[in-house]
């Protein structure tokens, strides 16, 4: 009995030590993050340029910039779980706007999908197409975002297919997608989804990964 108690006590102490190590590690990472933030604020403030499709009011005090890939599972996870709450509580209330910048890293279909969204944008349906892509996302590079499927999505949305095909087949937006990708990389984005949340004073904070709504709420409230 005594031996058992001793055993559990030692195991408990071991676990506490591990948690303490993890906490110190977290604090250390926090310090690194602070230094990185200073670097960013001094050197490359994220200026959200015009011309990127956005939902929400242009005058909203907060801009959320999402760097994403249409084939990325984590982006879909964020799209399904966090995005609706942000739209409900911040976009629809005029406090924030949401912009999407492509970072198509997961294969050729990602680039095609990104280009297709701009062809849909030519017909004023960027966000409808964007939503369709995430709603029907399949396994990475399994063909769900092949050229044929992208045409089907456009057809199902009721887009003018002649105009869409002309745009898509001419690779009209290939360079724009490449530019977006370069822009994301130059902003220090190394994974998708990554979010940069900027307020009207230019203060910004980066969130990496499909983090829950509570994190976005805290960051947005701190920047408002």
């Amino acid at each position: 009995m005594l031996a058992n108690t001793k055993k559990y006590l030692v195991a408990g102490v071991g676990i506490v030590i591990l948690v303490a190590i993890a906490a110190s590690f977290t604090s250390y990472l926090g310090q690194i993050e602070d230094v990185q933030k200073q670097d960013v604020s001094q050197s490359k403030q994220m200026a959200v340029g015009k011309g990127y499709p956005a939902i929400g009011l242009e005058t909203a005090p907060i801009t959320i910039v999402e760097f994403g890939d249409y084939q990325c599972e984590a982006c879909k996870k964020w799209y399904d779980n966090t995005r609706p709450k942000i739209i409900e509580n911040y976009i629809d209330t005029g406090k924030a706007s949401l912009t999407f910048i492509d970072l198509p890293i997961l294969g050729p279909d990602s680039k095609l999908a990104a280009a297709a969204t701009y062809c849909a944008d030519d017909q004023g349906r960027y966000w409808d197409y964007h939503v369709t892509l995430y709603d029907y996302q399949g396994h990475m590079n399994s063909g769900w975002a092949s050229a044929e499927r992208l045409h089907s999505f456009a057809f199902n949305l009721g887009l003018d297919m002649d105009e869409f095909e002309e745009c898509f087949n001419s690779n009209k937006y290939e360079q724009r997608v490449e530019f977006n990708s370069q822009r994301a990389r130059s902003s220090g984005v190394v994974s998708t989804p990554t979010f940069v949340i900027v307020n009207s004073s230019g203060d910004q904070q980066q969130i990496r990964g499909a983090q829950p709504y509570s994190v976005f709420e805290k960051v947005i409230e701190s920047l408002l």
Binding site: K7, L106, M140, S191, Q211
Partner: protein, 157 residues
């Protein structure tokens, strides 16, 4: 087999080793698989649709902790190095398969290896659950053989 378990874990050192290994695997795997976030706040988040995947990581971490500590016991008992390294490495690769999609690790792989990296990343991501199940099977097999071997080795010694 029950006896082997009792022999090893009656010594609290092996419980501690097992806990350290399990947590040492679970924490990084949770971070790379994006269940645990450290920035900008420490947040743990498992959505309903990813709960099964996360439970596989937990099972793998616990099994790995038990298997490694049992084999440390065996090594000390028979003074011979047992080859479990490959199974543990395979297990970790399987367990971290999901980290190879759009996270920083997947990004680095794709950036470094281009199309090949993209194909490898797709494979690891698309077969994440089967790979984790294979990892669990490997660990259960190693655990079973270890449990069978210990009483025999104890008698010899």
């Amino acid at each position: 087999m029950q006896n082997s378990f009792n022999i090893i874990f009656s010594n609290y050192t092996y419980i501690v080793i097992s806990a350290i290994i399990s947590l040492g695997l679970l924490l990084p795997l949770s971070i790379v698989s994006e269940y645990l976030f450290l920035e900008p706040y420490v947040v743990f988040s498992v959505y309903v649709d990813t709960a099964f995947n996360f439970s596989l990581i937990v099972i793998i971490s616990i099994l790995a902790g038990i298997v490694v500590s049992m084999n440390i016991f065996r090594i000390r008992l028979v003074k011979k190095v047992r080859r479990i390294g490959s199974s543990i490495t395979g297990t970790i690769i399987g367990a971290s398969a999901g980290a190879c999609s759009c996270g920083p690790i997947g990004f680095s792989i794709i950036t470094t290896f281009g199309t090949t990296g993209s194909i490898a990343s797709s494979f690891l991501t698309n077969y994440e659950i089967p790979l984790r199940l294979i990892s669990i099977i490997i660990l259960v097999l190693v655990l079973w053989t270890t449990l069978k071997a210990i009483p025999r080795e104890c008698k010899i010694n």
